[in-house]
């Protein structure tokens, strides 16, 4: 399945990408699994998305936990804790 993956703020800068398409094997269905795939890229990806790091995710523009389901065509965003207001 194909996901549109977005990065914001500090993570966008560190990872050096704002938006990409990520292809996952069919059957993978949780945000946590997308993160495993991204971490497997090594380098800054492994570092910034390490389990102890403080980041958040949204699936189709809704805040989502690591266990949230993902499907083909979903938009997944990964970003630091928000600091608006």
């Amino acid at each position: 399945m194909k996901l549109k993956v977005l990065y914001f703020a500090r993570l966008r800068e560190r990872l050096g990408v704002a938006e990409e398409t990520v292809e996952l094997p069919d059957g993978m269905g949780m945000v946590a699994m997308l993160l495993d795939v991204l971490r497997a890229r090594g380098g800054v990806w492994a570092e910034e998305l390490a389990a102890g790091k403080n980041f958040r995710a949204a699936v189709n523009q809704d805040m989502a936990g690591m266990e949230a389901p993902i499907e083909d065509g979903d938009e997944v965003a990964i970003f630091p804790p928000v600091t608006g207001g």
């Binding site: 403080n54 630091p80 804790p81 928000v82």
Partner: protein
């Protein structure tokens, strides 16, 4: 209900007036304006850039306001949040809540701000004399939002 994300400034007074205009059931308008300070976490702040996640922002703010509307008796709500480059003294955010009674207006206004601080996809990058830096979320912001679920 009015929810606006914009790079332009807003007129808080006009928004508050518009919120209650024509509804004589409104007995209370609580509002909050957040502003850029000239210092933060020990550094001077020359300017600030607010980034957001456009496809999600309006939706996230709408969900927060809807949640407030389920919890308190509200007559109308306005939320305006700016994005782009801002300077010390500039307005960042307005939350204004109209209700028949003050307790509902105050609680909902503070609730919306607390949730906005932890749920709405905005990020601040400050320009300081020591260089640019991304603002980190404060633990007190998570705590402020969490107390509404106690």
């Amino acid at each position: 209900m009015k929810i606006l994300v914009d790079d332009k400034d807003f007129d808080a007074g006009a928004e508050i007036t518009a919120l209650r205009a024509g509804n004589p059931q409104v007995g209370a308008v609580a509002s909050f304006v957040g502003l850029v300070r000239d210092s933060n976490a020990g550094s001077n702040v020359d300017s600030m850039t607010l980034e957001h996640y456009p496809a999600m922002t309006q939706r996230a703010l709408g969900a927060i306001v809807a949640k407030a509307g389920q919890r308190w008796a509200l007559l109308d709500v306005t939320v305006i949040h700016r994005v782009g480059e801002l300077h010390p003294g500039d307005q960042i955010v307005l939350v204004a809540v109209a209700s028949s009674h003050r307790a509902d207006a105050f609680a909902a206004c503070e609730f919306i701000m607390d949730y906005l601080k932890t749920q709405a996809p905005f990020w601040k990058k400050e320009q300081t004399p020591e260089g640019p830096r991304w603002v980190e979320q404060r633990a007190t912001d998570e705590q402020a939002a969490a107390r509404w679920t106690e």
